[in-house]
Amino acid sequence: MISKDRSLMAHLLRRTGFGANPDELEAYLEKGYEKAVEEILHPSDPGNMPDDLIRRYHVEQSELRDLAGSAAYWMYRMISTRCPMEEKIALFWHGLFATGYAKLNQARSLLNQVDMFRKKGLGNYETLLLELSQDPAMIVWLDNNENHSDAINENYGRELLELFSMGIGNYSEDDIKECARAFTGWSLGNPEYMAVRASKDSIWPYGRIAWHFKYMEEDHDDGLKTFLGETGKFNGEDIISIIVKQESTANFIATRLFQFFGSDEVTDEGNEVIQSMVDTYFASGYEIRDMLWTLFNSDFFKSDNAMFSRVKNPVEMVVGAIRMAGNYQAPVLGIEQVSNTMLYMGQGLLQPPTVEGWHEGVEWIDSGSLVERINFAAKELSNVNSPGIRSIIERLEVMSGEGTLTPSDLTDQCLDLLGPIKVSDETRNVLVQYAELHGNLDLRGHKLGDQSEQQVGNMLRLVAATKEYQLA
């Protein structure tokens, strides 16, 4: 019988990261839940695979001239970080402030945006929106470099209100225009040259030139504007200050955070949590970290209703399996094939399909993606040469004591070590029946890759193929 504490901690680590291997889970259990939440929400010292090592062996990840390698570069970080919350929050904002490579042809600048999400994503929402408005990848993505005092372009102004803060129905068309006016002049350096290079996908003569923000004062409309009932000579930062004060903004962000970190579906219970998060938003002065603290400490989050109530997105599937197996801890040839699997499952990093990002939840699952998901996880978790799987084998050996493990015990231990993962009686019965085909597991005197180890690998492979493994 798995303890509630263990289940709860594993649940927290799935949501705030990519799941935990047994060692990581035990380390967090020692701290206790509240301390774990504090530590996770204040990441420091990620200790991820160093940039210099990656760039030495992967020239494509040094230059980031095109997509190849760019997703892998981020994936390396997700795999090796001690602070996966940084990567999850970056992934959250990457999905919400969806900015895609296809129009930009600028992986370096897009990854600079992701890095901004990593650094600022748990902080103040007003600051984050300001950083976003000055992010050159976003500026080009939503054409704010074409937003001029004598000819406004409403794209960024509209999406800022519709998709990044208040949500449709909470502002007027006039507000959009005034918002756009306020952001005139918020551009990038050498905008015409950069725009033509982006549109032509030009890499000549010497590869890409990464972008930087530049405020063009001469192109800014500094006239009076009326936005959401307030009037003034607003510039972009003033608009943002007004946006973040709105109840609709708080609701929008709280709901999206809840759906990503709490549960795919919002029930009445979920709505209560969202309201608490809204209250925290205002009480804290718009701090994302505090909102998440509210969520992770809510009764709902700690309840059975919240556990396994999200479908893992492809990034969580791939990175979670890799972290459990302990693979790819050093630069390796062919890493792009691994990062491409996320794309095949429907979630290519740096390639959100539209400005709305990805539709999460059960939409991740179709007959094609399900096969990819199962095959990938099964392959990672069944390789007995992988360090994480070897660690599981050693733990099973210790649990066996001087004897063997029955099929029932082997099943329960594997479910525990890979999660713990809660499965239905039906699923458990299938797993036990499979284990019974091979009898008791005898790891005494086991050697690398022998039959007893393969027995473990095959058991883990089967767990990866359960429907419950698809859930976070």
Binding site: D51, D52, R55, R56, Y57, H58, V59, E60, S62, E63, R65, D66, A68, G69, R108, N112, M116, Q134, G189, N190, E192, Y193, M194, A195, V196, R197, K200, S202, I203, W204, P205, Y206, G207, R208, I209, A210, W211, H212, F213, K214, L333, G334, E336
Partner: protein, 343 residues
């Protein structure tokens, strides 16, 4: 424009840039070059590391100072004869044969300078004479071949056809110890210099591996290094170091005292001008641009500055000298090399 620091007896004046990115499988231009050397007749050999999507294009390109692309050779990506996977560095012997290290295949491949494959040698392992991740390579005047054996944390000495002669080094940060070393060079009397990459320093040894001196420490200050990758020594004993992590080249005298710092000042190459002749809209945009802009504070590491400032070195990984003492600096991320005249 010379960037020498006074007092100094050496000056370097920027001459030109040669290069353009080549996205395809052949032809003029470079694809993430990793090494450069200049033959006696002035032919310039550039080793294209290539990214995995273009691995079939792995080759050595040949050009000259007049921007003529003279040809290329290589047999693509793989482990077959003449093929490469992760090609790193080159050296040339007295017969102008070219020796290329491959840190994935753990071997040295030899071509002649007309591009004919000759042979390869090297076996993976940690025993003496075996290799794990060869990187820097140099040949002294006595036909001794020195090889950086990065994952074995040592330098090995071979004959030109791969017979083991000697080795020294172990993992660490003390004298004679290494941490993922990269480039290697010899001087005219046969001393051996190693770009001790992750120790952020240059180490100097005798021809037989006795430690002589070390230069530099971690940092971005003058005379400090951040992951030095390549180096070359001229006839006067000046040491030219590709200070990769700091996106610069530093020149030291034979005592290790800093003489010059170069940041790169690339101009449009002839091949680049040919591109712009066919793409006038880009040329117009470029002419109206400030290619050395003021940058926001949050992207001010050397790497980020160079990613946004096209004339600066970006990934200066290898350096070479021609027989007149002119300096060639090859940049992985900019697919070009910059030439400096010794003054």
């Amino acid at each position: 424009m010379s960037t020498s620091m006074s007092p100094s007896k050496i000056g370097l004046e920027y001459v030109k840039t040669i290069g353009i990115v080549n996205n395809g499988l052949n032809g003029r231009g470079f694809a993430n070059p990793y090494s450069i050397l200049v033959g006696k007749d002035g032919r310039i050999f550039v080793l294209n590391r290539c990214d995995p999507n273009r691995a079939a294009a792995i080759r050595i390109g040949i050009c000259n100072i007049d921007d003529e692309y003279l040809g290329e050779f290589g047999k693509g990506s793989g482990s077959g004869d003449g093929q490469f996977v992760w090609a790193v560095c080159m050296a040339m012997d007295r017969s102008e044969r070219i020796y290329i290290t491959d840190e994935y295949n753990h071997r040295v491949t030899i071509y002649d300078s007309s591009g004919q494959y000759i042979s390869h040698w090297g076996t993976y392992g940690a025993e003496k004479g075996q290799i794990n991740g060869p990187a820097g390579i140099a040949i002294d005047s006595q036909d001794n071949l020195f090889l950086v054996d990065q994952h074995n944390s040592r330098v090995q000495k071979f004959s030109l056809d791969g017979n083991f002669i000697g080795a020294w080094g172990s993992f660490g940060s003390g004298p004679g110890e290494f941490n993922l070393p990269w480039g290697l060079a010899t001087d005219k009397v046969g001393n051996v210099y190693v770009a001790d990459w992750r120790n952020d320093r240059i180490q100097k040894f005798s021809n037989h591996g006795e430690f002589v001196a070390q230069f530099g420490s971690s940092g971005s200050g003058e005379g400090q290094f951040q992951r030095p990758t390549g180096l070359v020594i001229d006839a006067d004993g000046y040491i030219y170091v590709a200070d990769w992590g700091n996106e610069r080249v530093q020149v030291l005298d034979s005592d290790g005292k800093l003489q010059i710092v170069l940041k790169g000042e690339a101009t449009v190459s002839k091949w680049g001008e040919e591109y712009f002749a066919s793409n006038p809209e880009e040329k117009i945009g470029r002419d109206n641009s400030d290619l050395v802009p003021e940058l926001p504070d949050h992207l001010k590491t050397a790497y980020h500055i160079s990613s946004q400032t096209e004339p600066y070195f970006w990934g200066p990984v290898g350096v070479a000298l021609d027989f007149e003492g002119n300096l060639y600096v090859v940049e992985t991320n900019r697919h070009r090399f910059q030439v400096y005249r010794r003054i």
